[in-house]
């Protein structure tokens, strides 16, 4: 009887652990209860423990980043702060929160003055659109380590603006459809030319028959539809072409970055 009672008690107390699906949430709650009851000195250390657990439990990057934001890094002991800031910078970068990542990386760099290629690379990637001076100085350090960075940086800064866009637009206004033809959209260009020519002859036919109201109303409607529509289509097709070029550039950059990261992997560091 005593054994049965003991078993029931154990089962009752550990019921949550029995169900695996709930384990993750229960563990997070456990960390949070400790955080809630912790004093000022230990609270951020427990938050780091929680983040570590979340990383190991494959939580989403978004969830981890929101936990990272709760940590007061300045109150952490030096032994933990360095790696915690590195991890924070890396996870924020992976979650595409570049501003936040650069902020953590700057704090990390101020603290350590780390000259490893990995650290410089992370700083270079996060400072791209935020601080050009730092970005260029980090780039100078990177190319002294490996010439592969030159190719990557060139690809990143290569102009993708297509030439003759203004000419195509003006041409489309002067001779409807011609802008599309120059842009390489032969079918659409010919169709636009045909429709605009048809509109011209139709309006001429109405005027020659003294159907003035018809000529004004049909003319304004059809010109709005085909002439201005053709111009808008030209602008849209130019943008599409630009987008395709941009996509190609992004793919090449991603490919180059992958090979760089294979060589200089950016990995999370143990906090404990």
């Amino acid at each position: 009887m005593l054994q049965r009672i003991t078993l029931i008690l154990i089962l009752h107390l550990c019921i949550n652990q029995v169900f695996g699906q709930q384990q993750y949430a229960v563990n997070l709650l456990g960390f949070e209860e400790r955080i809630f009851r912790a004093n000022k000195d230990t609270v951020d250390v427990i938050k780091l423990e929680k983040i570590n657990y979340m990383i190991n439990a494959d939580s989403t990057k978004g969830q981890i980043v929101s936990e990272l934001k709760r940590v007061n890094y300045s109150s952490l002991p030096d032994s933990l702060r360095v790696n915690a800031l590195w991890n924070a910078a890396l996870i924020a970068y992976l979650n595409k929160e570049i501003d936040l990542s650069f902020l953590y990386w700057s704090k990390y760099n101020t603290l350590t003055n780390d000259t490893s290629t990995q650290s410089i690379l992370l700083g270079y990637l996060t400072s791209e659109n935020l601080n050009k001076t730092i970005n260029r100085s980090l780039y100078a350090k990177l190319i002294s380590c490996d010439s592969q960075f030159v190719q990557f940086d060139n690809e990143l800064h290569k102009s993708i603006e297509l030439k003759g866009n203004t000419f195509k637009k003006v041409s489309s206004l002067l001779l409807p459809g011609s802008g599309l033809l120059i842009n390489g959209n032969i079918g659409k260009g010919l169709l636009s030319m045909g429709l605009n020519t048809g509109t011209f002859f139709f309006v001429r036919f109405l005027i020659s028959n003294n159907a003035w109201v018809n000529s004004v109303l049909w003319g304004s409607n059809l010109i709005g539809k085909f002439y201005l529509g053709g111009y808008r289509l030209t602008v849209k097709e130019i943008d599409n072409k630009q987008g395709r070029k941009q996509k190609m550039r992004a793919e090449t950059s991603a490919h180059l970055l992958t090979s760089i990261l294979d060589k200089y992997p950016l990995s999370l560091r143990l906090v404990y």
Binding site: L9, V26, L28, L29, F36, Q63, W212, W218
Partner: protein, 260 residues
């Protein structure tokens, strides 16, 4: 044997006793937007169903699931009754929400037994004016203009607007105090009418151009009638929405409240 059973119940009771809901901890979870932890905490707590429903309603309210909120809030009415500040908080939220959910909150859950102070009564009245409009009603000055516009919109009949537009194109919109829309509608339908007349005079009724013109004219004429009818309904919805948005903004500042 009886000692063993006593031990069992004592341990069981102690565990349950420690499982009482810690409001300050829940506030901590809420402040930090910790959805998973909040849910897990409530799921693993042993307490009365009323209390659980009360806190689950707070959980769903904070994390944006209004329909689940309403289910739990309806079950936790006893506890809600004791927290008028929270009722005000919820009411302000439902002033400017989807009609069905707002209706459920204001007319099903927030019944007369819960309207225990003037602020709640005021919010209840402000919402219910959209269900049962009154010509004269005491409202804050800031809301009166919007309410009057809404009230006038309730007096407009879609069928009347449709009939007006059928007789003279666009006049249904004039009935709605939209003179610009009236002018453009009249110009468009009139223009197509004259275009049809002109082509019939020059080319005859059997000519394809006249047939096309006549088709366009008929189409625009019908659109003008149906459009005027629908515009009255749309106008009513917009006025109602505008009134409730302003009411919601106004009371957010006037009646400060929080979830905890």
């Amino acid at each position: 044997m009886s000692i063993r059973l006593t031990v069992f119940f004592v341990v069981f009771s102690i565990q349950s006793l420690f499982s009482q809901i810690d409001n300050t901890f829940l506030k901590h979870l809420s402040d930090n937007n910790l959805k998973i932890e909040y849910f897990s905490y409530l799921q693993n707590t042993t307490c009365s169903n009323d209390t659980l429903d009360f806190y689950f309603s707070k959980y769903h309210f904070q994390f944006g699931d209004d329909s689940s909120f309403l289910v739990h809030a309806a079950r936790a009415k006893k506890l809600l009754k004791q927290d008028t500040s929270l009722l005000i908080h919820y009411s302000k939220h439902f002033l400017n929400k989807e009609t069905q959910q707002s209706n459920e909150w204001f007319n099903s859950i927030l019944d007369t037994s819960l309207l225990l102070n003037d602020q709640l009564k005021q919010l209840h009245l402000v919402y219910n004016l959209t269900q049962y409009p009154l010509e004269t009603v005491e409202l804050p000055l800031q809301l009166q203009k919007d309410y009057q516009l809404y009230y006038r919109a309730t007096k407009k009949k879609p069928i009347v607007a449709g009939l007006f537009s059928a007789i003279i194109p666009g006049t249904g919109l004039l009935y709605l105090n939209k003179p610009r829309a009236f002018a453009s509608n009249l110009a468009i339908v009139g223009g197509f009418g004259y275009q049809t007349y002109e082509s019939s005079r020059i080319f005859g009724w059997q000519h394809p151009l006249t047939i096309i013109n006549a088709a366009f004219f008929s189409g625009f004429y019908l659109v003008n009638v149906i459009g005027s009818y629908l515009e009255v309904k749309k106008n009513l919805r917009e006025r109602q929405k505008q009134y409730l948005i302003h009411a919601s903004t106004y009371y957010a500042d006037t009646y400060p409240s929080s979830l905890y």
